[in-house]
């Protein structure tokens, strides 16, 4: 069964077609790097798979079913992460608040849930975060906490929306490493959106490149080419390879780095 399947799907927000007439299928266990310029629909695609957006036309299937809100088979790490600065809530309680958080009534934490949280934190190498207050965690530590949260409940599909943003190089590598290990072990399919291709080169199975309302899914060699990217960016793109790195240039500028500059305050919808 395909984990994600889009067949001539059009997804729009407020009357604007963010993705139009898009088709691709993602197999179980694949690590997909989701790339593309700001506003190309990376977040929108994930929200559509979560069942948060109405679909304008075509077919979207997640694990064989139409997308629906509260799908327990999906682990999600949103791009916009509200972190309230003065809150001393511990890592354990922070994750606990998300388990069955949609149910009414008083919060409670069963021994089973507590064990699941501690086990998953240990699996991402963040056992000590359970007792530490959120306000004292670094960006990398928070990201690891959120990753653990997304992995709880044995999801089959992991949607990670820009998990590397505002992390330094070392923490970026740690996050990629943690995701790769956790997902290979459990055969989880991953959609990992990012601004930069190079860090993911050794990890990803295929690239889903979005742009201009279109999407192209394929191996790096198939997708990261001058003709494909020129079509997706709607402008002339040069792909340069040097020293195991790939640079996507437009008129002499590196488009990935240029994008990154705009990221502050931009939620990429």
């Amino acid at each position: 069964m395909n984990v994600v399947e889009l067949d001539r799907a059009t997804i729009s927000i407020g009357g604007r077609n963010v993705l139009s007439d898009v088709s691709f299928t993602i197999q179980p266990g694949e690590f997909i790097g989701v790339l593309g310029p700001n506003g190309s629909g990376k977040t929108t695609l994930m929200r559509a798979l979560l069942g948060l957006l109405p679909q304008a036309a075509g077919t979207v299937r997640v694990l064989g079913r139409a997308p629906h809100c509260g799908n327990p088979d999906i682990g999600y790490l949103p791009q916009v992460r509200t972190v309230l600065p003065d809150l001393r809530v511990r890592g354990l309680d922070f994750i606990a608040s998300s388990l069955h958080g949609e149910r009414w009534g008083l919060p409670s934490l069963s021994a089973h849930d507590r064990h699941a949280i501690e086990h998953t934190l240990a699996a991402v190498g963040a056992r000590d975060l359970a007792r530490r207050p959120l306000s004292n965690m670094s960006g990398g530590e928070r990201q690891r906490l959120l990753l653990a949260q997304a992995l709880i409940g044995a999801p089959k599909l992991l949607l990670l929306d820009e998990p590397l943003i505002s992390l330094d190089q070392r923490h970026q590598e740690v996050v990629i490493d943690v995701v790769r290990k956790a997902c290979r072990e459990r055969n989880i399919t991953v959609l990992f959106s990012a601004h930069e291709l190079n860090q993911l080169l050794g990890t990803l199975d295929r690239v889903l490149y979005l742009g201009n309302g279109k999407a192209v899914l394929g191996t790096v060699d198939e997708v990261i080419t001058t003709p494909v990217l020129s079509r997706l960016y709607g402008t002339e793109i040069n792909v340069l390879r040097a020293d195991g790195h790939i640079f996507v240039m437009s008129h002499g500028r590196d488009v990935e780095h240029a994008d990154h500059m705009h990221e502050h305050g931009d939620h990429g919808h």
Binding site: L52, P78, R81, L84, D86, G101, P107, S138
Partner: protein
């Protein structure tokens, strides 16, 4: 010494009313602070001023004007979505508009002017039995509603984007919570007045959140701080003849700044 105070019926009434309101304010305020919506709470109390004076104009008890206006405003803020209710400028404009209307109502009902001070700064020593029953009822409704929605409320406050994906109805939760805040503000205004609801609804929970690392310890601490400040404020007022609301405001400020001065645990890990 304590028997001295409890010799008077109005003092017993004051302790009971302040006790009910303090616990309710501390608990509701905890979530107000957690959600970063304290300014919305402040605005609701000012809107309540217009309600209270308007109620006086048409011969109703100020409390019902407070409840009616704050509840309507809370629901409206929730339904207009967080885009509006979290926007300081919009809230600021609405709250000054409400204060203006409050002034207009006072202008047309001049004999009510003596009560204006009570609405603005509270008058816990004048609380009667009927008001205590009403406050008890408001407290019970508020805490029951809070208990029913606490789990999704916490989830939606800490991680709204994820909560939405998991099927939490964000707008409903936000609106219902502001309705709860409206009731708590109305009750709180009976004790410390619309201008000083922060002293019980924000000061104690903010101090508690500085000190506690778990939800339940934070909630208990917030309620205890509010209760201690309210009761000690009344005692202090009894012996000094200063206004009760001033004493409570002073204690609230002292506790908050003392909590700020306590060094944060585990800051060695901070980035």
């Amino acid at each position: 010494m304590v028997t001295d105070i409890l010799h008077y019926d109005f003092m017993i009434n004051a302790f009971e009313a302040a006790g009910i309101v303090a616990v309710m304010s501390g608990l509701v305020g905890f979530f107000l602070v957690m959600r970063g919506q304290t300014f919305a709470g402040h605005a609701l109390s000012h809107i309540g001023f217009a309600g209270a004076t308007g109620a006086g104009l048409i011969g109703l008890a100020p409390l019902w004007g407070l409840v009616g206006f704050t509840l309507a405003a809370g629901l409206a803020m929730g339904l207009l979505s967080e885009r509006i209710s979290n926007r300081d400028v919009a809230i600021g404009v609405v709250l000054s508009l409400a204060l203006g209307f409050g002034l207009l109502f006072l202008h047309y009902y001049t004999s009510f002017a003596t009560q204006a001070t009570a609405i603005l700064f509270g008058n816990v020593l004048a609380v009667d039995r009927a008001t205590i029953v009403t406050l008890g009822l408001l407290g019970a409704i508020t805490l029951a509603a809070l208990g029913l929605m606490m789990r999704p409320l916490i989830f939606a406050s800490l991680q709204p984007e994820l909560a939405e994906a998991k099927g939490v109805p964000l707008r409903f939760v936000s609106t219902a919570f502001l309705a709860i805040v409206a009731l708590a503000v109305s009750a709180c205004a009976q004790i410390v007045g619309v201008l000083l609801v922060f002293t019980l609804m924000v000061g104690p929970p903010a101090a508690a959140q500085r000190l506690a690392t778990t939800l339940w310890s934070g909630l208990v601490l917030a309620a205890l701080f509010a209760l201690a400040e309210a009761w000690l404020g009344i005692v202090a007022a009894f012996y000094t003849d200063w206004p009760v609301s001033f004493c409570i405001a002073l204690l609230s400020g002292v506790v908050y700044f003392a909590a700020l001065a306590v060094p944060a645990r585990g800051t060695a890990h901070a980035h």
